[in-house]
């Protein structure tokens, strides 16, 4: 058996495998995970691929351990990721919070299935979107990306790594079972064509290094363990030295920065795709597999002469508030199909602020929407 480096070329692969290959291309060299349907193939691929590129795979005893281990690996200076689905995602919330507090770059891929609880392990869902935003305790901001295809699983995993290094936090790739398990063409460019964001290393010598002095864009440089910086980091509220400070003032300063570093850089982070939204009477706003079904419904509606636009959220968190506000002033109705009982629709409705009507098309999970359901909603909206 020969070691292969990062793959280059055109491949037929499913979204889970594309997600793993995206990690490899992004420089991920540590993966800790726990088997869970429908995300297991990400771990299996990493188990096969990481030894080929000099990386380390470990199957942990649970998802609590998986999330903790990728944080440790990241502090050792190695890009790290894990993958999971609903039940495991719930367990990861604890150390996701630690990753946010310690400002630790890493990537978590959630191949969503239908819940709650064990739910439908082999069938799709999009019910973890609000958990992605708010699932760990306390106030914070997060970045979450939603792929609609295996190609995007590849590309968005790389983007997730880049954003995690840029802003120093765990970044979530929120795929779903259908996208994870569908096989399509995935193009993997040569490594030199893939821009990678380097870690912000300290520029001060070890004696002068403090872990969290805010840079101009609120993201501090990060020393690796073992490089002589002798830093301390804690999940407790801390000051710029990384030392615990148990006051409301320290909490305010720290948590505001953790939130602001995402909020003020939203324009750099947010990626959305629009099709025919400019003069649309109705806009279908969706993400993941639901966006693909929506796109088809939009095309059918246009065939009937309806002025309908498509807004696909690639970045779901931070939420593209500004654009929704703008669109709300020029359209009559947003239709939001999602495979849950209404999560992202709450954000759309909030941003629309009553200037446009917002209509939820819920689906409790187990399959995607029928295009006819969305088409019918579009027809009704313009009646």
């Amino acid at each position: 058996m020969a070691r292969r480096g990062p793959l280059v070329g055109e491949f037929f692969m499913n979204g889970d495998i594309a997600c793993a290959e995206g990690g490899i291309s992004a420089g991920c060299r540590f993966f800790a995970g726990y088997p869970i349907t429908p995300a297991t193939e990400v771990a299996e691929r990493m188990a096969a691929r990481l030894p080929e590129v000099g990386g380390t795979f470990i199957q942990m005893e649970d998802e609590l351990g998986s999330m903790a281990a990728i944080l440790g690996a990241s502090w050792a200076g190695v890009k790290s990721m894990t993958s999971t689905s609903g039940p495991g995602f719930s367990l990861m919330m604890e150390n996701l919070g630690l990753g946010i507090m310690l400002e630790t770059p890493c990537v978590v891929a959630n191949i969503q299935r239908a819940g709650p609880s064990t739910g439908l392990p082999t069938l799709t869902g999009q019910g973890d979107m609000m958990q992605a935003r708010w699932g760990s305790h306390g106030p914070y901001s997060i970045i979450a990306l939603c792929p609609s295809s295996p190609q995007e699983c590849y590309y968005l995993t790389i983007k997730a790594f880049n954003l995690s290094e840029q802003y120093r936090l765990p970044v979530l790739v929120m795929a779903d079972e259908i996208v994870g398990h569908m096989s399509e063409k995935v193009v993997i460019p040569p490594p030199e064509d893939i821009p990678l964001t380097p870690r912000r290393q300290p520029t001060t010598p070890p004696g002068e290094y403090v872990p969290f002095p805010p840079d101009e864009d609120l993201v501090p440089p990060m020393a690796n363990a073992g490089d002589g910086y002798r830093f301390h980091v804690t999940g407790l509220t801390h000051d710029e030295r990384g030392y615990p400070v148990m006051t409301a003032a320290a909490q305010d300063k720290l948590v505001r920065r953790l939130i602001d570093k995402i909020e003020v850089n939203k324009a750099d982070i947010i990626e959305i795709e629009e099709d025919g939204t400019e003069d649309a009477d109705v806009i279908v706003c969706s993400y993941g597999i639901s966006a693909r079904v929506s796109q088809y419904a939009v095309e059918l509606a246009r065939g009937e002469g309806i002025k309908v636009g498509m807004l696909r959220l690639i970045t779901v968190w931070p939420f593209p508030e500004e654009r929704i506000r703008q669109l709300a002033r020029q359209t009559k109705t947003f239709i939001v199909p999602e495979i849950n009982s209404g999560q992202i629709v709450l954000e759309v409705e909030r941003c629309a602020g009553g200037k446009a009507e917002t209509l939820l098309l819920p689906h409790m999970g187990g399959s995607a929407h029928r295009p006819e359901t969305i088409l019918e909603a579009i027809r009704s909206a313009v009646k």
Binding site: G54, G55, W75, R230
Partner: protein, 299 residues
Amino acid sequence: MNDDGSEQTQEMDQYLREDRMPHIWCPGCGIGSVLHCFLSALVKTDIDADKVCVVSGIGCTGRAAGYVHLDSFHTTHGRAIPFATGLKLANPELQVVVFSGDGDLVAIGGNHLIHAARRNIDMTIICVNNFNYGMTGGQLGPTTPLDARTATSPSGNYERPFNIPYLAAASGATYVARWTSMHVRRLEQTINEALLKRGFKFIEVIAPCPTVYGRMNRQPTGMDQMRYYQENSVIQHGADPKDVDIDLNGKIIVGKFIDIDLPTYSDLQLRVEQKAFGPEESKGEAVKKKAATAASKSK
């Protein structure tokens, strides 16, 4: 414990964050003595302190990471070991020490403890056992002896406690020892030996918690508890870990119980990789590559 000489004390001071003193530990608490033993043991090795990482969970002992002038991580409750696993496997050059309490490592973190031991991950665990959850006010823990009174066993504990050395040994730890915080020199020697050995090394240290546990159990000062250790500790190297249970006010069997050599997780991983890919590209090279990857990221 001050017979080490001032030179060593000075050397040790480099490893303490003096700007974080005074520490939070109560008068009579044993954790400070254990930290002293760890640092004096470290001084007596030739380990590059820049490569030492201390990882703690939550609780009184969990605060130890905050007081050492080493790369140190105060993580989440119970998750010090998996965090440390990530550090160690991502950079095998690191000397990883997990310094935490019995509640953290054996109750909420029990699953991680047994699996890291089973895998024989190369790390040193220093587990300070004070028989209760001190920081939250003295509730019963996984090690509280039967009949001991705590805030959540006000009439006496009726849960059977873990015998931690037995748990660690049965799970696959290749080095298992126990001392009390009274045995400072023996503890220092043991930690020193553990730091220089490869494998999953587990050291339990029985330590006083006069403020909450002691007060509830007729040992209201640190000195009372130390006297109890002095009168009831029995040094028994090589004792079968299954025989080292601790009863309320009973004898405490201390010593080195297990010291064997088995391939570590990384050794076995390397063996499989060499079989799969041939010996020409060893894990050593892969590790160098990893280091190069890490370095290239800084450019």
